[in-house]
Structure formats: structure tokens, C-alpha cells
């Protein structure tokens, strides 16, 4: 088999995997601090893509869209946390899951009503439209950009969590939210910020992936499932677990698509089953 083809597939898999990583990190952040499984995460990913379509339509610039999308979607996340999730604190941990599940239905249908059922075309900015050539290796420039952007975000987020005061509060809150409150921190504000941040990550992932994966109302669910698989494989609550899990899944999917295309999805699920069999808490997870 052609080695360049395999290498290209692996790289594509890494980039695709980084999208799952971004989503899984958002899910992990929100779950770690708030014990909320955000079923609507996929819907916000989709909203990020559609927001990008709108912004590009208005300004013609993909780069402006990349900046605007996380802000707009994050603001939406703030509103959702305020209005819908906050009333549920103190209730069963299933309630936010159920609520966000209902929300995902509502958001998807709203998008279908406003933008139609068929999806919108979205292409990469012209400067990134062609491919990198390294020897006999062709790799789309946009994919390379996407991968780099995702890596930057992953590292920046890690540094934020490790090096800033707010990051410290978040990490502490993940470990012991009662103690953090007892120490006088406005925990409601922290929660709101974390939720908005997680959602913004999801929206950004949607905008970044749009030129590659397309924009349609149902794009959220497929990616959400893989994001869930990522957290199961990597371990919910583990930062680098989410990264490792996402990359692993991306590469597995990509390589299987090359050799046995009909089994690509099943391969990912089988990986998940294997991890469950051998290490139920996830590759890097603990407890739960």
C-alpha cells in the first residue's frame, strides 16, 4: 500500500480527531465543574457552523467569522445556563441531561425552520483553498490550518486552566465545589463562565470544521455521538484523556475508512467497547 496515502490518512485523522477533542474538552469542562452532561453540545457545534455562514455572508471574511462565532455562541451559552440550567441545580443529575436533550431537538428544528432542511454550502477561505506539497505528499492547506488552530486552542486552554486565577478556581471547583463556595467564590458566576466557554469551544469547532464537513442541521448529532465516545474512551474529567481519546478515534476512523470504508463507524464503536471491557473508567480517567 502507498505510504504517502497512509500518512495522509493519518494526518487527516489527526485533524478530524482534533475536532472531537475540542468538543470533548467542552463537554469535560462543563461536566467537571457542573456535573452537567450537555446533550445540546452537538447543536451548539451546528449553531457555530451556521453562525459562520451568516457572518461570512455579511462580511465576506472567514477570519472575522472565526472570531465572532465563539463570542456569539458563547453568549448563547450564557443565556441557556442562566435560564435553563440554573433552575436545575440540586436536582437529579439526569435532569440537565434531559433538559439539554430537549434543547437539542428545539435548536435543530429552529435551524431547519430558519435556514431550511438541506444545509448550506461553505467553503474555505481562498488563501487556504489549495494544498501543501511535501515531496509526494499532498495535504489540503485548510486541514493543516484547522489542525494547527485546534492545537493552539487546546494548549491555550490548558495554560488558562493551569496558570490563571480563574483557571485555578475552575480546577478547584471541579474537585470540590462546596469548598470553593465556602471560600467565598461566586460560584454561580464561575459556572456561567465555564458553560459559556465550553459552548464557545463547541461553536468554534463547528465553524472550523464547516469547510471540511459541511453545514447542515443534522451535523450535530453524529459529532456528538463521537464526542461522547471520546469522553468514554479518554475518561470524562481528564483533560489529556479527552485529547488522547479524540486523536485515537480520529485516526482509527480515518484509517478504517481507507481500508474498510463500510466499517469505519463500527470500528470506532468497537474501540469504545474494547476500552469498556478492559478499562471501564477510560484510558486516562479515574473513578466514576
Amino acid at each position: 500500500m502507498n505510504t504517502t496515502l497512509i500518512v495522509t490518512q493519518i494526518l487527516t485523522g489527526v485533524v478530524g480527531g482534533l475536532v472531537y477533542v475540542l468538543l470533548a474538552l467542552g463537554l469535560t469542562l462543563i461536566f467537571g465543574l457542573m456535573r452537567v452532561v450537555n446533550f445540546a453540545h452537538g447543536a451548539f457545534y451546528m449553531l457555530g457552523a451556521y453562525t459562520a455562514v451568516v457572518v461570512v455572508g455579511l462580511t465576506g471574511s472567514f477570519w472575522i467569522a472565526l472570531v465572532v462565532v465563539p463570542i456569539v455562541v458563547g453568549a448563547g451559552g450564557l443565556a441557556v445556563e442562566r435560564g435553563l440550567i440554573r433552575p436545575l441545580y440540586g436536582r437529579s443529575d439526569y435532569d440537565p441531561l434531559l433538559l439539554t436533550f430537549g434543547l437539542s431537538f428545539v435548536l435543530v428544528e429552529l435551524v431547519k425552520v430558519v435556514f431550511g432542511k438541506l444545509g448550506k454550502p461553505f467553503s474555505a477561505p481562498p488563501v487556504l483553498a489549495d494544498a501543501l506539497v511535501l515531496g509526494s505528499l499532498y495535504f489540503p492547506k485548510y486541514l493543516a490550518f484547522m489542525g494547527l488552530a485546534a492545537i493552539v486552542v487546546v494548549v491555550a486552554l490548558w495554560l488558562f486552566l493551569q496558570r490563571t486565577d480563574l483557571g485555578l478556581t475552575i480546577r478547584a471547583g471541579t474537585q470540590d465545589s462546596i469548598m470553593v463556595r465556602a471560600l467565598g467564590v461566586d460560584f454561580d458566576r464561575t459556572r456561567a463562565i465555564v458553560f459559556a466557554l465550553g459552548i464557545a469551544l463547541g461553536g468554534l469547532a463547528g465553524a472550523l470544521n464547516a469547510p471540511f464537513a459541511g453545514v447542515n442541521p443534522d451535523m450535530g448529532l453524529q459529532i456528538l455521538i463521537f464526542a461522547f465516545v471520546t469522553v468514554v474512551v479518554g475518561g470524562l474529567g481528564s483533560y489529556w484523556g479527552a485529547v488522547a481519546g479524540g486523536l485515537l478515534i480520529g485516526v482509527v476512523y480515518s484509517l478504517t475508512s481507507l481500508f474498510f470504508p463500510q466499517f469505519a463507524q463500527v470500528a470506532v464503536f468497537s474501540l469504545m467497547a474494547l476500552v469498556l471491557l478492559v478499562r471501564p473508567t477510560g484510558l486516562l480517567g479515574s473513578g466514576g
Binding site: L88, Y94, L98, G102, V108, E109, V113, V266, A273
Partner: protein
């Protein structure tokens, strides 16, 4: 309750709605064995519904056996799959469990999608023959699916009633009590000596079996099934039905299914976006009526009677 249901066929303008109500009512009740009684939220319950449907449909298409045998085939397929999937999903609990049920549901969906020469893939499975119902040496009753809703309705009614009786017996037995104990505190149940994993797995399998019956009946009813019977929308719908009705009561999910189907029937006449309203109503339910419609009714009645005494 049986009288009410039998009468329903005469009252409800769309006779197919009444039969659908029975089928989805049973489906929601099977789901609630897991949520209401075991405390496990399954987001992939349509797996067993769909497998019951496909199992029965394929057996009927290839071998034309007695209709009860076909139903059994579908149910066995659903139950066997529940055993395997349940074993994996029960490696985790709570929200992880829920995510896993969804993931496995999608896995089964994709497998059946790929096996399109068997399942018809995206086009679905058509022309499921509905044999006459034969009671050996006594009679051969044509049940005729949607062509004669009346006789089919009673056929479904009898099966559903038997299943409901079965579920009721199961849940009011010691097994049911242990299940509820596990729901309240699995640690304590374990401390007392129960093998909670096994018990939960058993509950999962029962739940899958009854969902399989509902799926079977669905296949017989429509004569045509598509992959959406196993899909995430169906899985989501059953969650909504159960919660809408009230997972804390025995009959709540059945009521929830009825409300959902009736609303769907009438709202769909005015709009294409029924899912939007369903989602919104569901969200309102989670926020303001966590006990569900029937659950709230039961609570109101109970507080009235204690009020009179106190």
C-alpha cells in the same frame, strides 16, 4: 383499564391512532422498567424496539410461520441483544451509562444500515406479510393489519395487556423491590449482599424483551418498517413519552405515550415542525413538572386525601 382501551377504538376518530397508542404505550412502559424502577436512563432504547420489528419482519418475509412465532423471533433477537449491550453499558452508571446506550444504539443502527441487502437499508423493509391468526384445529382469524383496524386492534390489545400484566407482576415482585432499592442506593443494596450488576442486567434484558414485543407489533401493524425504528429520534421520543407521563408511577409512561401521540396527531396538521414543539413541551416538563402529567395528577389526589384526614 382494559374496558377503557376497548372503548377507545370506538371513540378515537383515527383507529390507527389507538393501535399506535397501545404499541408505544408498551414501549414506554418497557423503557420505564429501567428509568422509573432501576434508575437507569437509556438513550438507546429504540435499539430493542427496532430489532423486535426487524426480527419479526424478516422472519415473516422468509419463512411465513405462525404470527406468534414471528413475534417471538423478534422478541428473542431484542432480548439477546439487550443481554450483550446491557453487559457493556452496565460497566458504568448514571450519565456514562446513558451515553453508552446511545453509542451502542448508533452502532446497531449503522450495522443494520450497512447490511442493506438484508434490511433494505435506507429504503426500509416493505411488504411484510400478515398471516391469519391460526388457533390450531379451531379457527383461522384474519388479522389484516391496517386493512381491518378493528380485529388488529383487539389482537394487539390482548398481547399488550398480557405484557402489561407481566411487567406489573415483575415490578411488584421481590425482584422489583430490589430494583427499587438499587435505584435508591446501589451501595446499600450491595452491602446487604445483592449482586447489583446481575440484577440490573436482568432488568435491562426484560426491558429489552418488552420493547421487542412493541417493535414486533409495530412491524405487523404497518407492514413496512424503516431504520428510524432503531434511530435516535425514536429513542428520544420514548424518553419524552415516559417523562411526560411520569416515571414515578406504573401507568405514567403509558399516559405519556397517549398524550404525545395525540398531540403529534393534531399539531402535525398545522405545522411541519412538530419536533420543535415536542422538544419545547418536554423542556417545560423537565423544568416545571418533573413528576409528569400523570405523576402530578396522582400527587394531587394523594395530597387531597391526606389533607382530608389531617
Amino acid at each position: 383499564m382494559a374496558v377503557v382501551l376497548a372503548l377507545l377504538i370506538l371513540v378515537v376518530p383515527e383507529k390507527t391512532l389507538a393501535t399506535q397508542l397501545l404499541v408505544f404505550g408498551l414501549f414506554a412502559m418497557s423503557f420505564n422498567i429501567l428509568l422509573g424502577y432501576a434508575g437507569l436512563l437509556s438513550f438507546g432504547h429504540s435499539t430493542f424496539f427496532g430489532l423486535g420489528a426487524y426480527g419479526t419482519a424478516l422472519v415473516l418475509k422468509w419463512w411465513h410461520p405462525h404470527v406468534l412465532l414471528a413475534i417471538t423471533a423478534g422478541v428473542v433477537l431484542a432480548g439477546a441483544t439487550a443481554l450483550v449491550i446491557g453487559w457493556f453499558c452496565l460497566r458504568r452508571r448514571r450519565v456514562y451509562f446513558s451515553m453508552l446506550t446511545l453509542a451502542f444504539n448508533q452502532m446497531v443502527f449503522f450495522i443494520l444500515f450497512q447490511a442493506s441487502n438484508v434490511t433494505g437499508g435506507d429504503d426500509g423493509l416493505r411488504g411484510i406479510p400478515l398471516p391469519d391468526f391460526e388457533i390450531p384445529f379451531v379457527a383461522s382469524i384474519p388479522i389484516e393489519g391496517i386493512h381491518n383496524p378493528f380485529s388488529f386492534y383487539y389482537f394487539v390489545l390482548i398481547i399488550v395487556l398480557i405484557c402489561l400484566l407481566g411487567i406489573e407482576r415483575l415490578l411488584s415482585s421481590p425482584f422489583g423491590s430490589v430494583l427499587e432499592a438499587i435505584r435508591e442506593s446501589e451501595e446499600r443494596a450491595r452491602a446487604v449482599g445483592y449482586n447489583t450488576n446481575q440484577i440490573l442486567l436482568l432488568a435491562f434484558v426484560f426491558s429489552g424483551l418488552f420493547a421487542g414485543v412493541a417493535g414486533s407489533l409495530y412491524a405487523l401493524f404497518f407492514g413496512f418498517i424503516g431504520l428510524e425504528t432503531l434511530g435516535w429520534v425514536t429513542a428520544g421520543v420514548v424518553v419524552m413519552m415516559a417523562i411526560l407521563g411520569g416515571v414515578g408511577t406504573f401507568v405514567g409512561p403509558f399516559v405519556g405515550a397517549a398524550i404525545y401521540l395525540v398531540l403529534q396527531e393534531y399539531v402535525s396538521k398545522y405545522t411541519d415542525s412538530w419536533q420543535l414543539y415536542a422538544g419545547a413541551i418536554f423542556m417545560a416538563c423537565v423544568l416545571f413538572f418533573p413528576q409528569g402529567v400523570w405523576g402530578s395528577v396522582v400527587r394531587m389526589i394523594e395530597s387531597r386525601s391526606t389533607g382530608a384526614r389531617g
